[in-house]
Each structure stands twice: as structure tokens, then as C-alpha cells.
């Protein structure tokens, strides 16, 4: 598993602990073991609770982090993937379909990255073409038609910047989705599980409840691109991440997100099963709350929520 520099002190202590443990056959080391375990716990607490924003971005990109499909198959029952936008193609970077959450039929839609190089090429690194947004739109309308709630999972380094993406209207596809989502008469829960980069993210990111993982990031641009534009160099990504205030702790203060989903110690990749166990009851609870609200009121509240966004003085 990929280890980050800031985690090295923890790994060192854990290795020492192993050494001590290996001695226990000959001498009683239980006291030392306990002491070390305590130290490691303190250190983890200290490191993971004081991560810089850039370190969080790194965790959000960890290749062992659960992706949308992992949630679809581990939190929901009976996931049936539905392909294609019925217009042009089946985008592999945005996927979706039918799923059951407890006894509710829901529509799940999410961005999907790949783990291996081959898989990543297939998924286009989680960067959707317009066809992905149009597939999402088709599934949203299908859900609305049969009065089923929608849950979207955001995890993208951005909408794909390519020639064909432009020719097929990347901008129009994203714009149309936001307009559509603002008007859908069914509950929408948005979960930012990893990377939430710009228009690529907000293209499936309009909803009644916006949940964000503890170590996910969400902003108008990636720290690298921000660095290259504002500092005219790729070397200022740490500063850019700080300046962009892209962490969940930042965004909740500006009411851009509604709730922070805690992750297992060190991040979702350290314990995927625990991550599923944390998220599932939260989704059920949020969904049950939203289902109590009448459709007209739901849409009105959703619009009001986005209308209030921004900070200005007058």
C-alpha cells in the first residue's frame, strides 16, 4: 500500500512494536507493548488530525480508496448497472444504475476511477466526456419518472478536456445537468467521496443534502492547475491547496456542504469495510429524512439552498 511521507513516523513505531512483540516468547514485554500501542495511537491521532490541506488531497487520491462501484456493491443491494446516454455513447467514467438501500429503490450515479493503469485508461481516470453527464441526466429523469430518490457519488479530477469533449458540448452537458437537477421532484443526496474537481464534479453535484468525506477535497480547480495559473509554475500546489480552502472542514463553514462523513483512522483506504459501515446508516438516515418532505417543498428548499450560496457585502 502506498504510504505517505507524513505517515512514516507511524510506520517506524509500528515496526518497533513488531520487534518487541517478536521478543515476547523469551521475556515478558506486555508492559512495553501496551506502552507502544498507546504511543502509536497518540501519534496517529496527532498526525491525522493535523493534516495540511495538501495532505488531505493526497489521501483523497489514494489508489486503495473505495470508488463509486465499491460503494454501489457494498452498501447497496441488487445493483444493476445501466449503460449509455441513448444519444451517442456509454461513458465509462460516470456509471449508474438501479440499487436498493434497505427497502428503498434508489438510482445511484457516480464517477468511477480505475486502480490499475489498464483500468484507468478504460475509465479515462474518472474524467467524463459529455456522454457521461448525459447518461447521468437520463438516469435522473428515469428516477424522477418513477419517483425514486437519487444518490450521486463524486470522485473526479475534472471533466475531460479533449477535442471531442468540446465538440460534443462538455459545457452544455454540465450546464444542462445542473439546471435539470435543480428541478427534479425526487430527493437527491450528493456524496463527495474523493476528488471533487470543478465543473466535472458539480455536473452531478446539485442536491438536497451534500455530504463530504473527511479527507475528500472539493473546489473550483485542482491545486496543481491553480498553481500553474496563479503562480505560473507547478511547484506551488501545497500553497494553492491551502489558499483554495478545499477541505471538508473549510467548506462546511460556508454552507457549501451539509455534513462531514468521518473516515476510518488514516482514511477510507485503511479500512474499506469500516468505511462502508460508517456510510450506510448515514445514507439511510438522510434518505428517510428527505422522504418526509413533499416534492414541491423539496425542490423549493433545494433551490433556496443554492440561491444563498456565495459571500458578498452590500
Amino acid at each position: 500500500m502506498q504510504i505517505f511521507d507524513f505517515e512514516k513516523p507511524i510506520i517506524e513505531l509500528e515496526q518497533k512494536l513488531e520487534e518487541i512483540r517478536s521478543l515476547t516468547g523469551t521475556i515478558d514485554m506486555s508492559k512495553e507493548v501496551k506502552e507502544f500501542e498507546g504511543k502509536i495511537l497518540d501519534l496517529k491521532h496527532n498526525i491525522y488530525n493535523n493534516l495540511t490541506r495538501w495532505q488531505k488531497v493526497q489521501i483523497a487520491r489514494h489508489p486503495d480508496r473505495p470508488y463509486s462501484l465499491d460503494y454501489f456493491t457494498n452498501i447497496f443491494e441488487d445493483f444493476t448497472e445501466l449503460h449509455g446516454d441513448r444519444k451517442f455513447a456509454d461513458d465509462k467514467a460516470i456509471i449508474g444504475g438501479f440499487a436498493k438501500l434497505e427497502n428503498h429503490s434508489v438510482m445511484v450515479v457516480g464517477q468511477q476511477k480505475g486502480r490499475s493503469t489498464k483500468d484507468n485508461l478504460y475509465r479515462n481516470f474518472g474524467m467524463s466526456n459529455p456522454d457521461g453527464y448525459r447518461k447521468a441526466a437520463r438516469l435522473f429523469k428515469l428516477a424522477e419518472k418513477f419517483n425514486k430518490p437519487i444518490i450521486t457519488f463524486i470522485d473526479t479530477p475534472g471533466a475531460f478536456p479533449g477535442i471531442e469533449a468540446e465538440e460534443r458540448g462538455q459545457a452544455e452537458a454540465i450546464a444542462t445537468n445542473m439546471m435539470l437537477m435543480s428541478d427534479l421532484k425526487v430527493p437527491i443526496i450528493v456524496v463527495i467521496i474523493g476528488e471533487g474537481a470543478s465543473g466535472g464534479a458539480i455536473g452531478i453535484g446539485v442536491g438536497d443534502r451534500i455530504l463530504m468525506f473527511q479527507f475528500a477535497w472539493y473546489s473550483v480547480i485542482s491545486p496543481e492547475s491553480c498553481s500553474s495559473i496563479l503562480w505560473r509554475s507547478w511547484d506551488f500546489k501545497e500553497q494553492a491547496a491551502e489558499a483554495l480552502k478545499l477541505s471538508a472542514d473549510d467548506l462546511i463553514q460556508f454552507n457549501i456542504i451539509d455534513r462531514i462523513i468521518p473516515e476510518p483512522v488514516g482514511g477510507a483506504h485503511k479500512n474499506q469495510d469500516e468505511m462502508f459501515k460508517i456510510l450506510k446508516p448515514i445514507l439511510i438516515q438522510e434518505l428517510n429524512e428527505l422522504l418526509k418532505i413533499k416534492p414541491d417543498k423539496l425542490v423549493k428548499q433545494r433551490k433556496e439552498k443554492f440561491y444563498k450560496m456565495g459571500v458578498w457585502e452590500e
Binding site: E166, M178, S219, S225, G310
Partner: protein
Amino acid sequence: MAWFVRSKQNIEDAKPAYMPDGLWTKCPTCGEMIYKKQLEENYYVCYKCNYHFRISGFDYINYIIDENTFKETHTQIKSTDPLHFEDTKKYPDRLEEAYKKTSLNEAVTTGIGKVNGKEISVAVMNFNFIGGSMGSVVGEKIFRAAKDALQKKIPFLIISASGGARMQEAALSLMQMPKTAAIIAELGNNQIPYISLLTDPTTGGVTASFAMLGDINIAEPGALIGFAGPRVIEQTIRKKLPQNFQRTETVIETGFIDLIVSRQNLKEQLFKIINWFS
């Protein structure tokens, strides 16, 4: 023959975003020397090659709104620095510079005015104000101008000129995309016509929100219109882009623009459209 050959004449990226002082101006596309007064009379359009110079929001207002009918609105809404954003400069310093350079109060100007006697609500962007970038104030002013259209039951026009979202407001800028898209949905639900005019350049989060959502999408000739900027695309795909890629004349062929209108005919064409709706 020289040992080097210039492969491309008239490299388009070299277009200036400002109007040079002096009596004569060189057209950046065809190289024609144009007498400035002549240029002014021709709506800042090159009479030889129809190149549309970038102009300010108030120029558009002068061109399309009947004399003495424009009332500017929502001028009291001002940008703050909620994130304490600092790159090579502090955001408040950037704002201060922009106020001084442009004498404008933001990257968008909103108001109510008449087009040949028909009242409309209008929002026009100013590219020379921090690249016409959309932050909270741009989003809020567009939102309120749309609300004005809704309340008065009059058409809504946005003239876009923008590099996209304002990075210095990060996620708050991003949220202006769904905010503006949602109010445009509301206009549609209430049968209020919304006309989007895309000028050079319209890219990023502005294209990917209100600019592409018009009941009618109009573009000026030769305007750069796209989601990702040309340089970003070239870096990603490691290829040179085809000529005229993301230009109005290409974008209309891919199906995202209803019509191309030259600035000289803009008012007349707008009136025809507004009249159709009424």
C-alpha cells in the same frame, strides 16, 4: 528566401484585450490599419475582415439599449475576501487594481432597459475585470437580474465574456454555476425568455452554466467559446488543436449555437427575437 518561414500568419492568441490609444489601430487578424474614429463608428468591428474587437459591458449597453432608458441595478453588491486568498497577490489587492483599471464595480453590470421600446433585464460581463471571472458577486448579480426579469415578466439577456470561475473564491465561485443554472430553470418554468449572447471569450464555468442555457444562444463572429481552455486541451492530449477550434463558426457546426450575429446587426436581431416571444 529566408531560412525560416512563419508557419501561421495572424496568430489568434495575440489578440489584445484592450484598445490601444492613438489615432490608428491595427486589426489583429487582418493587419489593416484602421482609423480609430472609423472603428468606433463601426461598433469596434474591422470593416475589412469583420474582426470583433473586445469591448466593455457599457459599450454593449450603448449599442443595444435605447438612449436614456438604461437603469443600472444592484451596484451595491461588493466582493469580499471570504477565504483570505493569497497567491502572488492578495485578492483584495487584485480587486482594488481592477476597480482602478476599469472604473467598474464588478465583472458584471446589470440593469433594466429598453430595446426598441421593449423592456428587458440585462446582465453584461466585463472581460477586463479580472478576466470576467465569476465569483459570488457575479453570481448574485446575475441571480438578481434574472429575478427582476421574473418579477417584471420581461425577457432576460446575458452577454457573456469570461475566462470562467474566479479562483480567488474557490468553491464559492463553483457554487455560482448551480445557482445561476437553477434561476434560469425558474425563468423557463415561468415562460420568461432567456437570451444568451456569447462574446470573445466565453469559457470555463460561465460556458458550463448560464451561457449555454439560453432559450436562444447567440454568438459573435470569431469568439472563443468552450469549456476547457485551448492550452489545457493541448497539454492534455499533447496535440495541436485544429484551426478555428472552439471558435463561433466551429461551435455552430457542432450544434450549440442558434445563430451568429455581427455587432452591427445585434440590436435589430435582438429586437426580432424579443418580439417573437412577446
